[in-house]
Every structure is written in structure tokens, then in C-alpha cells.
Subunit: 350 residues, 4 copies
């Protein structure tokens, strides 16, 4: 699809280009091959972040700036192929957030939607529209689009989690809105665990009931590690691993059986010790976190050694193979939800 | 909207009617007020079945006919206002099924969809497309439209449950299909609990995974008492009861956040001791089972005393008030799912 | 699936049945084969109504009772296999309505939804929520669930149309509501043709615009003969007829691309002269009207000669073959929309 | 939400930043106010392209490069605030395409979806999966995601149209796929007008019919000027103009009543002579084409004089006011469809 102009008109074309440019006109044929590529070709790179080393920097930042001053004390995991973008894939953001004992990350809301995946510490909270979730390691917590949220750490140890947001997508559509609450914490509107109890067991408050308090399209925002790990291990005990995925469970929004948020899909997978996945590629660039175990990941032609809490990004359409050195549990999130809505998702399995 | 003809043409009209009749023509104006009524007016009646007395008859039937010979050994709860209809409301069927130790109810499938709500006994199974569910008291088990199912009792005690089906609706649309499997039991295709584990925790096998074995639109068929009761009690501990419903949770299909089956909605509710519900009416005729507690139900102008395992039917648009004499837990199912799809559901709260 | 009891317990069973009966309990095994049949088995019959003869009776009724007095002056086409039901199939109603010059059928609304298919006369109107449609032969006009509607004939000739409603379905779900407007005509709220213009051309008023006045889920209620006939004839000119259907176009609700109303599907088909359709059966009992041409219809093992304006009902799952003696155009409506929503629709093509 | 660090730690922070950078870690607090803004803040600018001047450049390009060599001979309308992006808004692409007599733009397909809005010439064709549409001025023609399409000009005059695509969005999600057909033209698979006839009149081929040949989710790809203009003028004759929009009709996909393509919404509007629209802003950056008339547009604080065929871009959340100097007809397209699916669309009306 590329174009190699090789004719006598080159000079005249260049002249035309120069004349048009101030009129905001530009020749498609000079860039068509970059705009409409035969397969995905962003410059995003596969990359791994060592948790230990990232954690050291994060704790150093903790000494230098307060959560309140920073609003959110987060180190962005920026894809080295997308410098200056604050993005981990072309459409997604990732960061590591630290809250120290006694700190509060003040209450705000915004159009980007966020997931939190806990990496370290236990007992800090995220409050969503005034309902607290007590966060434990490897819990998944959502703060959906335009819902008030604040975080606080009443424990005596630092708390660290992964933030996954669709900020680049919201910026792409030029649709960012945000506001801060006057108070740093939202008034408490429900008991911790209330939403999970009401909406998390294949049930919901009867329609029309006064107990039906969460947004109809987004009732659930806590997916505890304890629950998802049990389900994943049961699956592993019952089934033969899928050759490309191992044992893999997607998190769902119980309101519609769809993805956890309109733009973001998340899943967990378990690979038995010694399992080597068959090559697979998909258009949804994916961020992985190692929950348990050790593995070697091959992305396109690059190899990465992974251990607990390490973070790996696999860009769109780059082939992934995983070799589990011990039983491996991964969490992953991607933009598959958005891609499916827009008719863009594809995958290929070797 | 009724019509009182009172004119000189009566005789001529009667003559016309008589002439038309063999041509399958009939005057609307003589029946319009019966066909299009200002409010629902079926002859279905509120009614209560004492569990103990129904159970006695059922056990007597157990002495006289085998499950295999009967295909299903069930006593139909027929609404006394709808004699000969085998219906408990205009659109729904209910029956009490007995399986004795060692018996099997042979494998078949049909377009009516069914729910089972266990009343007595523990350890018999329902198998759906070859996956067994071990049934315990007050578990809800589904056998959706056109899925193979058989039941068996390997325990040493009788097992009794409520069958709730949409048979009248399938007959109404003249769309009944059924077939028997050659063997009385379906080959076992999965371990008991497999579907609940895969689809029952706000997760599902990743799309495209070989572990995704259930029908996409109907992945879950077991809602254990243990789970729903805990959720209901938590709700009761956290919330003020809704004045019309008490504490009420609907069962959902996790594939789409909708009703458990295309035609049937089910829910449970808890009324604290002494709670008296405000009057409510709705177009979905509902069958209730008392799970725990004692109550007085007033339906339109009739009163019923209820105790554990008793069954009550409340027809469309008849006002229901419940007075809980002790903490009351009810299970209920209705045709609300169908009515909502067809644009017919209404409710009124006093 | 039928049961032939042939044992020594017969007498004891009969005794049990007699004892249970007053308790509204009934043995399933005695009726199971009637309730859950291997294929549809209602007693609805295929039947044809000669238009000319039905028209004669209708005009005689016109002499004997006024539209206002009758509220609607309609002869019900009652299926001879369903006597006393006022139904043409198990789930649908059909009638022939007459409005004489100067008459008004007063304004009311009800939960049954209705279609009108004009058979004779030109220039009478149906008003839906105050917007008039001028009715011409073979126009399709809808009066959806709970929308106000009145009819009037300002011309000097009688006007006759087919009414197709889902009355039996609304009664089945015991969800009939109706009310009359105080005035016989609804105040005029829009110009004739307004809705068709706004919603009928693959467009709709921009969301949020003050011009978006119809219900979002049901914006269109007029499908003119002139338009549908042109589309059907174009299709016939462009395509090879489908062996089972001929050339067939379904009417759609432009709001969602689904059926014209939640319970009712309608279509038109054209069979070239000499075309004989291959046998097909489907679970949606269907009412046909001959718009143009002559044909022989074979339904199961019965034959019917059809000519313009004749009406034919084909019950569920009865095999239909059509032999077009001249170019044949048919209009048909059925309950397929409801059956699909409830998971019940099936068809088989030989 | 911005951050003004003003403390003694500045130096230490800078040191930390420098150390982290090679590890692809970056401090969120330094960029948070750019990433999550209180309102949309892209650097996209409002801009107008004079048709006459753009046309001159395009014709000059026509002298210098062939359609075949260019693959598509198009001048990109690049937003002057987004240099090097080939984008007209953050998420959309626009270009002016020229096909000279006798030329063919060869057959290809790609994941970006495209609309064509004809500006000049009559009689060239676009073929979609082998079905030709003869293009006339101000017709809207779609070439949906992954459908084969080629263009050709068999007339003796140049043909110019606006191309509107979602290329930036496909690149954002890193999901571009494309391929060329070996032949420059797709084999003809249907008669011109076939799809419009089958799917464009609130009807579709009966499901299961062999005539149902287009993709179920995208059956229609031609919205003729003749039809949309008549509908728009009828609306203008019948209704009071909406104060913010004038008379405005959105184009719909008849398969689902939604937007014309998964990412793109399109509409037309008519403003009576002298009409001045009240200020409105929306998050969907919009590209407008003047079809008829003259107007003054005020976008934020910039004014633009518009006449026939001029093109105007209004970025996200910039306030638009239109003053029609004569009766004004506009065509517009935006990314509202994508924004609504992802939960991002907002508008504000003064």
C-alpha cells in the first residue's frame, strides 16, 4: 500500500504541497501508507517493569511529595515507544499509586474510568460515591466514569496499587471533564461491602425497590481476590487449559454481562507449571500483572522474565507466548471493550 | 366499555349473528368489553396450598405410580379459577414433584422452560445437558428451554421440589416441542458445580476459550440457597425495608443482567418480624413459597395464613399485603420477564 | 410421551385424584402428553374467509348498528377450531372493521396493540395520539400499545380494513388496560404525514431536538402501499425468488430495526405467476390477506382458492405451499416478534 | 487541578525524575492537569476551508498524479491545531477526493469506516462489495469497516466529494488492517440501487430469505440527497425550528436505529433565512459542509463566513452559533456514535 513516487512531476508536486500547506491541505498519497496500514503498526513497544525497582522509586517519591499535594501520588508506566504520551498502550494509561499511612487522596470525579489492582498493603480504602471498599492484595476495584472517589490509608503500612485508566482514549475523543469535591472525603453513604452484597451474587435489588441505589448500568465495583482466585483455581482443577490462554476468566459487569467498564476489559488467567501457551495475537494492547509464580514471556521477538508483581505490556497485534516456570497467575486489562463496541477487535491464534 | 344494546334491531342482529356464525364471523361489539377490559380481569383466584396436605397426597401418589412410569411424578397446583387449565396463573404452571430414593426421572428436553425450587430432601440431582447439580433445600435450579435434563435421587429419603414452568405460555403460542433421550440419563459432561464456578462469580470463561462451554445466553442454572440467603440477610442488616416489598432481591442471568429465563422472573424477599407491607399490585401473577417464618397474606379481600413451605398464588393486579408474624422469607416467580419484553408489565403502589 | 396406565393401581389412583381435586391438586402424568407435546398441536385450523361474503355481512351490520354505539363495528374472524375464543390463531385476533361515511370510531387506548390493513375505500383516517393518517387501500397503519387512537370517515363511501391485534396474548398475560377519551376525537397535534416524514426515511429528528415528538421506541405508524409495493416490485425485478417465500419483505420499526410492534411481525410477499413455493412450516401462526392475484394455497392437507382481499389463516407448524395462478401479492402478520423474544420461534424448510 | 510545586524538594524530585526516566516511569503529578482536564482542551482549532480554493489545488493535483498511482487522490483537510496528524478533529479525518473522467480508484478494504458526501459532479460510482451506487451531488454514501470498495468515473467531468473517516480512531486503538483486491474493480454482485430498495424503506428481506444479502448490522449504504432534502424541507414546513439546531435530522442505520456506522454520526440541518441559533456546545467535534445558502458561523470567539460547499470544523466543546443569511442547509458528521458507546458524549445548551 506504500507509494513510491518516481516521476517527472516530483518538483511540481512539492511546489503544490508548499502552496497548499498554509491552507491546511495535505496530500493523502504521501501518508496513506502510514494512516491505513495492512496490520497494526504503532510504535508502542513490549516492555516489562520490575516491581521492586518501580516500588523503590515510588517510595522515594513518597518521601518527597504528599498524596494531597500530588492529588494522586502515582508513577506513570509510560511505554518507551510512546514517549511524552503518558500512555502504556496507544489507548490506555497505567500507573503505580502509593498512599502512605494516614494519607488521603482527595475526592474527585472525572470522565476517564479507572480500575485499581492492589499490589501491596491491606486495609486502605477506596470510596465510590461514598461507599468504601477495604482493599486487599490483588483485589480489583473500579471507579467508573464520573463517580466520586477518594482513597485513604488508615493502616500503618504503605499501600500500593496499579491504576488502569482510559485517559488516552478520553483525550483522543477530547471529552475530559473533571471536578473536585469541596471536602477531601465524600460523606459515607453506605456500609462497606454493600454493593458487592446487593449486586455481586447473580441477584440485584428488585427493580423499583428503595434498596436499588447504585447506577443501573454500573452496580458493582469490587471483585475480591478471594473470590476470583477461588473461581480460577476451580476452573483449573476442572478443565484442560486452553492452548492459547491457559485457564482464563473475564470479569463481568453483572448489569449486562458485558465488560467491567465501557472502555476496559479485565481478566485473570492461570497457567499450570510448565505450561507453554501457543502463540496468539489480538488487537487489544494488554497490560499484565503477575499475581503469583514465575514465567518467561515472549512478545514478538523479545523475551521477558516475570515474577510476582512485575508488570508487562503487550501492544496490539504483537504475538504473545507464555512459558510458566511455576504455576502462574496473571491479571490483565485491555481496551477490548471499546474495540468491540467500535467494530475493531480481532485476534489470531496460531 | 361494555355495551348494552337496547334497540329495535336486536332481532335482526340475532338473525345476522346466526347467519354469520357458520362463516366463522362474530360480532366484536358483543364481546368487546370482555376482550379489552379496563383492568385485568381473568378468573384466576388467589389461593393457598398447605404444604403438609399437598405432601401427603404426593407421597400417596409415590406409592401408586413410579417416577419412570409417570415420566415426572408431579401434582399440578391448578388455580381453582382456571379449572382444566393445568395453570396456576393464566400464563404459568406450578407443580410439586416427588422423587423417591433410587428413582430417576428420565432425560428429556422441551421448549417450556422450568425452574425447580427445593422444598424437602437433600442430595438428589438435576442434570442439565449432562452437568449435575446436587440439590439442597431452597436451592433454585433452572432447566432452560430445550436443554436436556434428568433428575435422580441417590439418597435414602424422598425429595420434593416445586416445578415452575411457562407451559401455558408455550401452549398459548402453539410452540411446544419435546423429545426424550434414548437413555434415561444424559452422559455426564462436566463436574457438579462447574457452571456455577465458571459463570456465577461476576466472571465468565474468556471469550474464545475452550472452557466456555455453556450456551452464551444461559450460562448459569444453579442459585444455591446458601448464597442467596446470605445476600438477603446482609441486605436486611444494611437497609431499611422497602415499604411495599420488604427486602427483595431478584435472581439474574449473568449473561445479560436480565431475568433468569426469557419468560420467567424469580426473586426472594425477607420481611422482618412485625413488618406489614403497603399494598401493591402488579400485572405479573406470582407464585410464592414460604421459606421461613409465618405470615398473614391479604390478596384483594381474601386472607391466608402462611407457614413454612406453603404455596400462595397472587393473580395479576390483585392487591397484595403481607403481615410478617415472625421473620418471613419468601421465594416468588412470575411472568414479569415475558410481560416486560412484550410491553405489558405494570405495577401500582399505594 | 403419552402415558397408558394399565395397572392394578388404577382404582386407587382414581380415588386419590378425587380426594385431591378439592385441594386444587391434579396429576400431571394424566395430562403431560397434552401439555408438553412433541410438536405444536393446538386445535386451530387453517381457514379461508371469502372477502365478498364477509363484506356482505359487514355491510348488513352497518345497517343495524352504528360505529359509535358499537365502539368499533367489527366482525371478528374467529378460527373455527377455537370457538368462543375470538381468536384467529392461539395468540392473535383478526377482524374486519367498517366505518361508514360520516362516522367516527371514538378515541380510546388500550394495552393490546393493533395494525390496520386497508381493504376498501380511501380517505378515512386513523389518528394516533392526535396525528391523522389518511388511509388508502393496502396501507399498513399501526396503533401501538397505549396510544390514543380514533378513526373517522369523512368520505362518501364505506371504508373497510383488517384489524390485527394481540388481544389473546394480552388476555393470556392478564394485562389488559383500556380507557376512553372524553371527547370522541383526540385534539389534532400534528399534520398528517408528519411522523412518516420525520422517521420514515432512515432519519430521525436529531436527538435533543424539539422536533423529536414521537415515542422513541415507536416513532412510525404508517407504511403506505405505494412505498411498500414499489420496494417489493423492485425486489422481484432484481432477485430470484426465494424457493420457500417468493419475494418477501418484512416491515420494520426504524427505531430499532426490529418488528413493527413488540408482539407482532408483518410482511408482504410477491410470487411470480406460476411460482409454486416449496413447503415451509413455522411456529408463528400467520394471517394472510391477498392484495393482488389468484392462488391455490395448500395448508397441511387442505386446499384453498384465493383471490383479491380473501383472508387465510395458517396455524403454527402447519405446512404451507402456495401456487400462484397469476402474479400474487400477499400481506401477512404473525406473532413471530413475541415468539422470538421468548425463545420460541422455529421454522422448517423442506 | 493544576499543580504548582513550590517547595524545598524540587531539586530532589528532579533528581528522582531523571533516575526513573530510563525505567519508563514518570511522575503523574507533573502532568495530571494536562491529562485530566476540567473540560475538553485539545489544541484542535475551528477552521474553515473555502471550497473554491481547495478545489483549485485538487484539480492541480489531478494534473500531477493519477488516481491509480495515488490509490486515492485526496487532499487531507488537516486541522491547523493538529499539525502532522492528518486529522480534522482529534478523532476524525476529512479529505477532498477527486476522480477524473475515466479513472478508477482501485478496490480495497480497511478497518477505518468511511462516508462520502458528494460535492461536485454526477454519475461516478462507488461500489461496495460489488454493488454500485451512482453518486449525485450531496448524496451520502457509506463504505463501512472492512467492506470492499472501489470508485470510478465513467462520466466526462471531474467528480469531487468529501471523505469522512475515523482513521485517527483506528490508529488510536492500533487496529488498522487493510488489503487490496487483485483486480482494480470488484466483480458486480448486484444492480445499482438494490440495497437501498431492499433496506431503505422501513423494510428488509424476510429473515432467512435468499434475498437478504447485505451484512445484518450494516445493510444500507446510500442516502440520496433527493430523499433527505425532501424530508428536511417537509420538517421545516411543519415545525418550529429548534432554537439550538434549527431543523435537524440524523441519518440512521435501519438495522438498529442507531448511527450510520459504529464510530460516526451524520446529520443534516436547515436554518431558515435570518435564523440565529442559540449557543450550543457538545463533545463531538463536528465537520460541516454547506449544501445551500450563506451564513456566518461563530465558533468560540472566531467568525467564519460560509457559502455553498465550504467546509467548517468545530472542535469538541467549542460553542457554536450560526446566523443564516439565506436559507441554509448543512451536512455534518462527528464522532458522537463512538462517544455515546463509550459513555463520553455531553452537550450543553445555553
Amino acid at each position: 500500500m506504500s507509494l513510491h513516487l518516481n516521476n517527472d512531476n516530483t518538483a511540481q508536486l512539492q511546489e503544490l504541497y508548499a502552496e497548499m500547506r498554509p491552507h491546511s491541505l495535505y496530500p493523502l498519497w504521501e501518508v496513506l501508507s502510514m494512516l491505513v496500514t495492512p496490520t497494526p503498526r504503532s510504535s508502542a513497544k513490549p516492555w516489562k517493569w520490575d516491581y521492586d525497582s518501580a516500588r523503590d522509586y515510588l517510595l522515594r517519591a513518597g518521601d518527597l511529595i504528599s498524596a494531597e499535594k500530588a492529588e494522586r501520588r502515582v508513577l506513570i508506566l509510560e511505554n518507551p515507544g510512546l514517549p511524552g504520551s503518558s500512555s502504556i498502550t496507544t489507548s490506555l494509561y497505567a500507573g503505580l499509586q502509593l498512599i502512605l499511612p494516614g494519607e488521603v487522596a482527595p475526592c474527585h470525579r472525572h470522565t476517564p474510568c479507572a480500575l485499581r489492582f492492589v499490589l501491596e498493603g491491606e486495609g486502605a480504602y477506596t470510596a465510590v460515591d461514598g461507599e468504601k471498599v477495604i482493599m486487599r492484595p490483588f483485589d480489583l476495584v473500579l471507579t467508573p466514569n464520573w463517580q466520586w472517589h477518594d482513597h485513604g490509608n488508615d493502616t500503618d503500612a504503605p499501600m500500593i496499587w496499579l491504576d488502569g485508566l482510559d485517559i488516552p482514549t478520553v483525550l483522543h475523543f477530547d471529552a475530559s471533564f473533571a471536578e473536585r469535591l469541596e471536602q477531601s472525603s465524600h460523606p459515607e453513604t453506605a456500609r462497606p461491602g454493600d454493593s458487592l452484597n446487593r449486586y455481586g451474587h447473580n441477584m440485584r435489588p428488585m427493580r423499583g425497590s428503595s434498596a436499588d441505589r447504585r447506577p443501573a448500568h454500573q452496580p458493582l465495583f469490587h471483585y475480591p481476590y478471594k473470590q476470583w482466585r477461588a473461581a480460577l483455581r476451580e476452573l483449573a482443577a476442572a478443565a484442560v487449559p486452553d492452548p492459547h490462554l491457559g485457564h482464563a476468566l473475564e470479569f463481568l459487569n453483572p448489569a449486562d454481562g458485558g465488560s467491567i467498564m465501557p472502555t476496559v476489559t479485565a481478566h485473570v488467567r492461570l497457567l499450570p507449571a510448565g505450561f507453554a501457551s501457543a502463540p496468539r495475537r489480538a488487537t487489544d494492547g494488554t497490560v499484565f500483572v503477575v499475581v503469583e509464580g514465575r514465567a518467561r514471556a515472549t512478545v514478538a521477538d523479545q523475551e521477558f522474565e516475570l515474577q510476582a508483581r512485575d508488570l508487562l505490556v503487550v501492544p496490539s497485534w504483537q504475538e504473545l507466548r507464555l512459558m510458566a516456570e511455576s504455576e502462574l497467575i496473571l491479571f490483565g486489562y485491555s481496551d477490548r471493550a471499546a474495540q468491540e463496541k467500535l467494530g475493531l477487535f480481532r485476534e489470531a491464534r496460531a
